[in-house]
């Protein structure tokens, strides 16, 4: 992931709204994709709302980001995003929104988000199956896999976000892929 320049981060820390707008523009899309794929929102909550909440947290805490050599701003930002999402996932579980693989309702839940008239029916179906399978992974595996596979982050960056070592990240990503492969077969059989 391309890193935001130190100068923009410094300007943001000094309270520049223009610089923060630049920051939002730079990370809006990857953050939205991460939230969307992590499937941490409920039916009532849109991923757009969650992204906005995360950016507000970033704005309020940007002075806590320490610019030392090797400090990675995107890792810091995604750490905030991940912690926010963990809270949402917990809330979702306690509110009873989380549904198992056997629950047919999960397909309906994912449908409105994935609906795209431009796609073919088979593409939609495959995407839905992947969404369901990824949602079945536990959060550390899900985050490691999404950040590596879709956000193209380095193992070192992911290790910072997940607060573990690079070896753990590598094994989580590999295990996630194996689990996904098995889950997709299982989903196809259930379907």
């Amino acid at each position: 992931m391309q890193e935001l320049s130190k100068e923009i981060v410094s300007r943001c820390q000094n309270g520049s709204a223009t610089a923060f707008a630049e920051l939002v523009k730079r990370y809006e899309r990857p953050l939205f994709a991460y939230i969307y794929r992590l499937n941490c929102t409920t039916v009532e909550q849109e991923p757009e709302d969650v992204v906005q909440e995360i950016f507000l947290k970033v704005y309020q805490n940007i002075h806590n980001f320490k610019q030392f050599p090797g400090a990675c701003f995107s890792a810091w930002l995604f750490t905030i995003a991940r912690n926010h999402c963990i809270d949402l996932i917990r809330k979702k579980k306690t509110d009873g929104h989380s549904k198992g693989l056997e629950d047919k309702g999960m397909i309906d839940l994912a449908e409105p988000k994935l609906a795209n008239p431009q796609k073919t029916a088979s593409q939609n179906e495959a995407a839905e199956l992947v969404a369901i399978a990824v949602a079945e992974l536990s959060e550390p595996f899900r985050s490691a896999f999404i950040l590596r596979y879709y956000e193209d982050m380095s193992y070192a960056e992911i290790a910072q976000i997940l607060q573990c070592n690079e070896g753990t990240v590598k094994s989580r990503v590999a295990r996630a892929k194996q689990m996904l492969s098995k889950l997709l077969d299982k989903i196809r059989q259930v379907g």
Binding site: V51, Q52, K119, A174, K177
Partner: protein
């Protein structure tokens, strides 16, 4: 199994990376592909990985339903407006002042206040205890006087090295008794001088021995 110096484990480590490559020539030119071609187990593993990669590729992200950046900047502007309003009110700023600027002095003042309060409380308790025990002290004093009278009568009959000073009108003062010879009655009569406040200490008394029954 080993083909071209690569073990199955080594190949499987890279197999997902390989399965993500788009161009067939790129895949075929890799050192792992030679192994995959010859090893049935790794070939199956590779096919599964390729199938998974294809499915994962199809999971695209929809366009956000609204302009997130605009929403964020509006919320930030609102936040800043609220903050400015807060800054105008001295009362609303007070907690922040306490936290960031007056932390040490306020803490020190609070500590002094607590110490003074505890000290005052203890003094009040001690004072009321002395007040309460005045009657007890008086009772002890009376008992001490009685003991002293007995002692005085005894030493009058026995050859102790004491000097008994006669008071006016035939009274006898106990504090005239030499401490070396008879410290006990003096202690009983005077109480424990080091512990009691001066105002509550029993005063030396003089007793007319002729009026006391033994």
């Amino acid at each position: 199994m080993e083909h071209k110096n690569l073990s199955c484990r080594q190949v499987q480590e890279y197999i997902y990376g390989l399965s993500q490559r788009q161009l067939q020539e790129e895949i075929e030119s890799s050192p792992e592909y030679e192994h995959i071609r010859q090893c049935a187990r790794c070939r199956e593993y590779f096919e599964r990985a390729k199938s998974l990669s294809e499915k994962l590729e199809q999971w695209s992200i929809p366009t956000p339903k609204r302009n997130i950046a605009a929403g964020v900047m509006t919320q930030i502007a609102q936040l800043e407006r609220d903050r400015k309003i807060e800054h105008f009110s001295p009362w609303s700023r007070l907690p922040a002042l306490f936290i960031y600027r007056l932390k040490v002095p306020v803490g020190a003042a609070a500590a002094v206040f607590v110490i003074l309060t505890i000290s005052l409380f203890l003094n009040i308790t001690r004072f009321s205890t002395y007040q309460d025990s005045k009657e007890k002290i008086q009772a002890k004093t009376d008992q001490g006087i009685a003991e002293g009278i007995k002692f005085a009568h005894r030493i009058k009959q026995e050859p102790y090295p004491v000097s008994i000073q006669p008071g006016s009108k035939g009274e006898m003062c106990f504090f005239g008794v030499s401490p070396e010879a008879a410290p006990a009655p003096i202690v009983v009569i005077l109480g424990v001088p080091g512990v009691m406040p001066i105002e509550t200490r029993p005063q030396p008394v003089s007793v007319n021995l002729s009026n006391q029954s033994l």
